[in-house]
């Protein structure tokens, strides 16, 4: 099948060879170690703790929940005693109220776990509840609650459910390994999702730099008429929701709209497996696969961890850093969009896909120079923006100009900064200004609502 793609984009060196051929290894938390469960690991309302300090919790026990519509519950991945509930650092740099549990090593499971459900005999509502009650969110990075994504407004019929297996971020190989090792689970998870939308086609989009994954997935969906594997050109950001939809269907998600408006639902490989696990194995989201890689890592590889372990735990269990070339920068995720962290003492959350450790040489960022107007940022921006203009608006603080030049449509993929020969902080300045302008917009909307409310009275 012909490989599809989107317009523009960049080709950073992919660095995947370090860990691609390393089979997934299981890392269990050490007995006596503390695990941390931030109450916000998703887009939406944070959860409220359901346990108190001193409580004994079991594997699979729900420890955080919110009554808000947009939220997702959180489960303990170990058994042990709740030591503390306190604010903790999360990978993005925020501090979030977290439950601290000391692992007693018994892995005592709560009753009711491991009870498979037959999704073919369940109603759509029952399936969505099962997915919600398993705490499934988008594991590709955004953390959008999956049960909400799978239940779009009735006036938006779904034609495609696309499994995002592009894995376009350099260095990351978790999705790749899962496709090789758990291909049947991906197919089963996708079939559950297709049950909710019987008129939709299932498409698994994989970049052509992973021929073995394409082969494995094609084999796994043999004989299933409503699922196909779609090869995609290897290009960043191929795994961006909007660009994957465009590549697969030729449809554009309009500015500010969600994929469902274009008749599509997109879910990451590991998310689909989490759906499968919720129904076929009756287990909530408690583990995920993390790529531990980079030039500073002794044994780069892919590790199945219990969510809540700290990155320090992973580093220690996986063999640590090179002594002669230690890391100077560590990144939670890929090098294009993953946040840098100043410490490894941060809990892994549902959306932690990698710990990338750069040596001094790899982490080098050249000095910023004058913009020479070469236009490379314009030629490569997947959204068709003019990053150099937005950068100017950001520098002089021209928020209106920024919005007028569609700055709010930026997907923060970093392609502009990657390409820029003057090494300008394009994406960085645009992201900061975007935050300011989004805040202004939200404040204006809130003020308008308040005014409308006051007038009613």
């Amino acid at each position: 099948m012909q490989a599809l793609t989107f317009k523009r984009g960049v080709h950073p060196p992919d660095g995947k060879a370090l860990s691609a051929e390393q089979p997934i290894k299981v890392i269990m938390p050490k007995v006596g170690s503390e695990l941390f469960f931030p109450m916000s690991q998703h887009i939406g309302a944070p959860c409220d703790p359901l346990v108190q300090v001193g409580d004994y919790v079991k594997v699979g026990q729900k420890i955080g929940e919110s009554q808000a519509f947009m939220s997702s519950p959180i489960f303990s991945s170990i058994s042990g005693t709740v030591k503390d509930i306190r604010p903790m650092l999360v990978p993005g740099g925020a501090t979030v109220k977290s439950i601290v549990i000391e692992n007693d090593g018994k892995m005592e499971e709560i009753e009711g776990l491991n009870q498979p459900k037959d999704y073919t005999k369940m109603t759509n509502e029952e399936i969505l509840v099962a997915i919600k009650e398993a705490g499934v969110v988008g594991l590709g990075g955004a953390g959008f609650p999956t049960h909400i994504k799978l239940n779009p407004p009735k006036d938006q019929p779904i034609d495609y459910i696309i499994v995002n297996a592009a894995e376009c971020e350099p260095y990351l190989t978790t999705d790749y390994r899962l496709m090789l090792e758990e291909s049947d689970k991906i197919v089963r998870g996708l079939q559950v999702m297709l049950k909710l939308h019987p008129n939709a086609k299932g498409v698994i989009g994989i970049e052509t730099n992973k021929p073995k994954a394409i082969e494995a997935m094609e084999k796994a969906c043999q004989g299933i008429s409503n699922i196909t594997v779609q090869p995609l050109k290897t290009k960043f950001p191929q795994g961006s929701e909007k660009h994957l939809i465009y590549a697969v269907t030729g449809r554009e998600v309009l500015s500010g709209a969600l994929p469902a408006s274009a008749g599509c639902i997109i879910d990451n490989v590991d998310t689909v497996i989490a759906v499968e696990r919720a129904l076929f194995r009756g287990r909530p989201l408690m583990r995920r696969v993390v790529t531990f890689t980079g030039g500073a890592v002794k044994n780069p590889g892919n590790y199945k961890i219990r969510i809540g372990m700290t990155f320090t735990d992973i580093v220690e269990a996986a063999g640590g850093f090179k002594e002669n070339d230690p890391p100077v920068k560590i990144i939670a995720g890929g090098p294009m969009m993953g946040p840098a962290m100043f410490t490894t003492d941060v809990a892994t959350v549902k959306t932690s896909s990698a710990l990338l450790c750069f040596t001094e040489k790899e982490a080098f960022i050249p000095e910023e120079r004058n913009c020479i107007r070469c236009g490379k940022c314009v030629d490569h921006c997947p959204m068709g923006l003019e990053p150099l203009v937005l950068n100017q608006c950001a520098i002089i603080g021209d928020g209106d100009g920024f919005v007028k030049n569609h700055g709010l449509d930026c997907i923060e993929c970093g392609s502009c900064s990657y390409e820029c020969p003057a090494k300008r902080q394009l994406a960085q300045s645009i992201r900061a200004t975007k935050k300011i302008e989004m805040g202004k917009k939200a404040a204006a909307a809130a003020a308008a609502r308040a005014k409308a409310g006051a007038e009613k009275k």
Binding site: K7, S255, M337, A340, R369, G414
Partner: protein, 315 residues
């Protein structure tokens, strides 16, 4: 384990650099430079050396005086100095490239904010300045030690109506009157292809520019003389189209804008060559189009991915 470096994404950068781009431009200009020295001798070499050295010197001096970071290592001043020398006649006095470089670097480039901020091509601005100030010295052409006329002047005066194979060969190899770096068409085409191959420039401006001149001179002609291919081989067109009109700072960043730039340059060059007072119009065409760039960029913004229909209409 803590105290790691923190910075905003992305954490990886391409290997491209301003210095690398400028180095590519210099490499691309080498064939034309060498051919200029071959035909115009040691005097040409001296002019080139003086021009480059003084351009770098003035950049250094200005940045020192204004207490800015000295950025001569980006090689952009070398490119400006080299282009200025290639745009001068071989018999120009030695002080002239010094005055020209000072104008290019200080007035056209640094006073407007330095690299990337110049709204006109510095080398061309300096050439226009020299041409207006010292018209005789800037239009005295010699070849093999004899004062000669450029092919474009001969076309204009009607002394050349039907170029022979020898005339074409002379234009291709560069054995004609003209500025140091503009005579050898083959060298310029090789340089231009190198820039395209290295993706330093896009095809849009040079190809549209040259094609426009071919089409218009072919259609309009000079009193019935229609030699469009000869028209593009002689004069400063190839040097201008590949190396001057494509100057990043003074050309549009949008794809559509670059095509408009090429069209405008081609139209103006043809009009000046055929109807103007000067035999050649490349410099002024590019300079005039340079002035239109902000306007072109403003009206040729590309379509945003996912633009709502209403917005798409507005753009």
């Amino acid at each position: 384990m803590s105290n790691f470096v923190v910075s905003a994404t992305p954490h990886v950068r391409s290997k491209d650099s301003i210095q690398g781009i400028m180095r590519d431009v210099i490499i691309a200009l080498l064939p034309a430079t060498v051919m200029g020295i071959v035909y115009f001798g040691i005097k040409a070499l001296a002019l080139i050396a003086i021009s480059v050295a003084s351009a770098v010197f003035f950049e250094y001096l200005y940045q020192k005086i204004t207490k800015q970071r000295v950025t001569i290592d980006d090689l952009s001043a070398v490119v400006t100095g080299l282009l200025l020398a290639l745009n001068m006649p071989s018999e120009a006095p030695f002080w002239m490239p010094i005055v020209g470089s000072a104008f290019a670097i200080i007035i056209a480039k640094q006073l407007f904010g330095g690299l990337g901020q110049n709204f006109i091509n510095p080398a061309l601005a300096a050439r226009a300045f020299l041409l207006a100030s010292y018209p005789t010295a800037m239009t005295t052409w010699t070849l093999d030690g004899v004062t000669t006329a450029t092919p474009l002047a001969l076309l204009k005066s009607g002394d050349l109506v039907a170029p022979t194979t020898n005339d074409y060969m002379a234009a291709l190899t560069g054995h004609i009157g003209g500025c140091i770096g503009e005579t050898c068409a083959i060298a310029l085409i090789i340089g231009g292809l190198y820039l395209l191959y290295r993706r330093v420039i896009s095809w849009r401006i040079p190809v549209v520019y040259i094609a426009t001149v071919v089409v218009l001179t072919g259609l309009i002609g000079r009193n019935g003389v229609r030699v469009p291919l000869y028209e593009i081989l002689v004069g400063g067109l190839l040097l201008g189209a590949f190396f001057m009109a494509t100057d990043y700072a003074s050309s549009p960043v949008t794809a559509k804008g670059q095509i408009i730039m090429g069209l405008g340059c081609g139209l103006l060059t043809t009009l000046i060559r055929i109807y103007g007072g000067y035999p050649e119009g490349v410099s002024y065409s590019i300079l005039i189009m340079n002035l239109c760039v902000p306007l072109i960029d403003r009206f040729t913004k590309g379509r945003i991915f996912g633009a709502r229909p209403k917005e798409a209409k507005k753009a």
